[in-house]
């Protein structure tokens, strides 16, 4: 584990240094990333110029959901977003080159072409989150702070796992980076809004099948003190770390199975 983190840092560091040689490009791309995240939020504020509540949530409360989700996706995108290139790597054979190096292939796939500019996403998500924390009148307690911090970490782990699951799937299905977008960026868009606007089937799906609801929805219900419109167990409010751990375990298993299959089928 320590070895893997060190290897990740070494490879990512080389990419950061390389990207800094074109400073102007780096900054314009970073700003681009930040704006990408903000555009959706601007759309939400435009929606709120016509209404006061969306799915029972006011604009500050939606901003909180938005900030949690954007932060989690931003961290995952920064750390492991490049795994979506795996399908292409399998096809062009560069994955083979990774398998003959003494570093875990997942670390190499994730760290290769590490793009620090993706911090832009995180920065704007943090901005929205900051505003949300000021604008909502949350009655803070130690538990709520703990839940909020746990949410940031768990959400990031959940989206990291989604990325890894998608890339494991690509070992079997070939280049499916397009389809991955539906789960990663699609999952982000879905969780930017209160789940109360979706039918209960969708909510069950993102609770029990792909637990995206734990990225922000359940902990936010607790932090904001809002009643759950779907009457799910109250324990879910605190279950984000559990969901994250489970999904991470599943993702790790699938990744390992994918690599094993690759090495035994020579796909």
């Amino acid at each position: 584990m320590a070895d893997s983190i060190r290897a990740f840092a070494v490879i990512a560091g080389a990419w950061v240094r390389a990207s800094m040689t074109y400073r102007a490009s780096f900054w314009s791309l970073a700003v681009g990333q930040a704006l990408f995240t903000l555009v959706d939020f601007v759309a939400i504020t435009i929606m709120f110029s016509h209404i006061d509540r969306l799915g029972g949530f006011d604009v500050a409360q939606v901003a909180l959901l938005y900030g949690f989700s954007g932060f989690a996706l931003g961290v995952a995108d920064l750390l492991v977003g490049n795994v979506e290139l795996l399908g292409r790597r399998v096809r062009d054979g560069s994955f083979d080159a990774m398998l003959v190096r003494p570093v875990a292939p997942l670390v190499q796939v994730a760290a290769d072409q590490f793009a620090l500019r993706r911090l832009g996403r995180i920065v704007s998500a943090v901005g929205v989150l900051g505003w949300a924390l000021v604008a909502t009148n949350i009655d803070w307690s130690i538990t709520k702070v703990a839940v909020a911090v746990a949410t940031l970490v768990s959400g990031s782990v959940i989206f990291c796992s989604v990325f890894v699951l998608g890339s494991a799937f690509q070992i079997l299905a070939g280049d499916a980076s397009e389809m991955m977008n539906a789960f990663t960026y699609g999952g982000n868009t879905l969780t930017q809004y209160p789940l109360s606007i979706y039918p209960s089937e969708v909510v069950k799906g993102v609770t029990f099948i792909l637990p995206l609801a734990f990225v922000n929805w359940y902990p936010a219900l607790y932090i904001l003190g809002v009643e759950d419109p779907f009457d799910m167990p109250v324990a879910f409010h605190f279950a984000s770390p559990v969901a994250a751990t489970l999904l991470a375990a599943v993702a790790a298993g699938c990744w390992r199975a994918g690599v094993r299959r690759y090495r035994s089928t020579g796909s």
């Binding site: 290897a7 070494v10 080389a14 054979g93 398998l99 003494p102 570093v103 089928t265």
Partner: protein
């Protein structure tokens, strides 16, 4: 102990065939069908075969990328598929058609990164880098991004990158593909010196038989997943059916010469080509020519390896050194 030891290695692939719109057939293909060989430390062995013969499948099994269906492999005393990561520190792999370097990074950064990935101690890295930069003439290229390098420059960079961690075994897959004559010669010289001075074991896969002739004493030929030849280059040239050629320049054009044991196959003005079995001695033919005709010049051509290999494939038999 042998550096590489392969015993009855097999690898099957399942191919799904489309038969009709809905039905799908399942077909097993035997890509490697019972390979056995051993390579001693310090050997430099040529590994050739037609496309689809199982070369890259077997190399993938030797390097741990692919798991064998059956049989045993030991590389540097390890089972590659079980101890892929440990083995990675002891071997170097160069895939000729794709680079192991980072496309957008300057060459120097790629080297530096690999040294860290392989935990090469700093002093060792500095010494190695200096040595390879010098031997492969990489100095002026170090600060260029890899994508700007020519094919030959990139290959030299790839070789240096693969050697930074002092691998005991080097797997080279088509290292001279697409290179011009000068780059090719340079690369071959480098490999020869590396093998001689550092004792690095080299397994060289190539389509360029010139590489094999100039570098390897031993050559393994596989076809359809089986070893059809495993012996010295000299033995390869004497494989039954192969012929050598005498080229003579006579003083003036004339009728085809008549020499026992050789047949004239081509006449062009005063120049004539005579072929004779590769395993026969050239001496009686040369002396017969010299005594019976007025010669300006005479040379003997060894059989082209391409032709010999074609004969080998056609014959389908196996030849192994004892």
């Amino acid at each position: 102990m042998a550096m590489i030891e392969v015993e009855d290695l097999r690898r099957t692939f399942v191919v799904r065939t489309k038969s009709g719109t809905l039905r799908r057939g399942r077909q097993e293909i035997l890509a490697v069908a019972g390979l056995s060989f051993a390579i001693e430390p310090g050997e430099m062995v040529g590994y050739i075969g037609p496309n689809g013969a199982g070369k890259s499948t077997s190399i993938k099994m030797l390097t741990g990328i692919l798991v064998p269906t059956s049989g045993s492999v030991q590389v540097a005393g390890m089972d590659p598929s079980r101890r892929r990561t440990d083995l990675a520190r002891r071997i170097g792999v160069v895939f000729g058609q794709r680079s192991g370097l980072w496309w957008d990074l300057p060459l120097r950064d790629s080297f530096d990164l690999l040294a860290r990935i392989y935990d090469v101690p700093r002093p060792r890295y500095t010494t190695n880098l200096a040595a390879y930069v010098d031997l492969l003439d990489l100095g002026p290229l170090l600060d260029q991004p890899v994508r700007q390098l020519s094919l030959g420059q990139r290959m030299r960079g790839d070789l240096a990158a693969t050697l930074l961690h002092d691998p005991q075994i080097l797997f080279l897959d088509e290292p001279t593909i697409g290179l011009d004559v000068v780059s090719k010669t340079r690369l071959r010289e480098f490999l020869r010196d590396l093998n001689a001075e550092r004792g690095t074991t080299v397994l060289l896969t190539t389509h360029d038989l010139g590489d094999i002739e100039q570098l390897c004493r031993r050559v393994m030929v596989i076809d359809a997943g089986r070893m059809v030849f495993d012996d010295t280059i000299a033995a390869l040239q004497r494989v039954g059916g192969a012929t050598r050629t005498v080229v003579v320049d006579l003083e003036r054009p004339g009728e085809p010469v008549v020499v026992p044991g050789a047949v004239v196959t081509r006449v062009e003005g005063a120049r004539q080509w005579l072929t004779f079995p590769a395993d026969a001695s050239a001496a009686p033919i040369v002396s017969a020519l010299a005594s019976g005709y007025d010669l300006v010049d005479l040379s003997i051509q060894e059989p082209a390896i391409e032709d010999v290999i074609r004969l080998l494939y056609a014959r389908g038999g196996a030849h192994k050194a004892d």
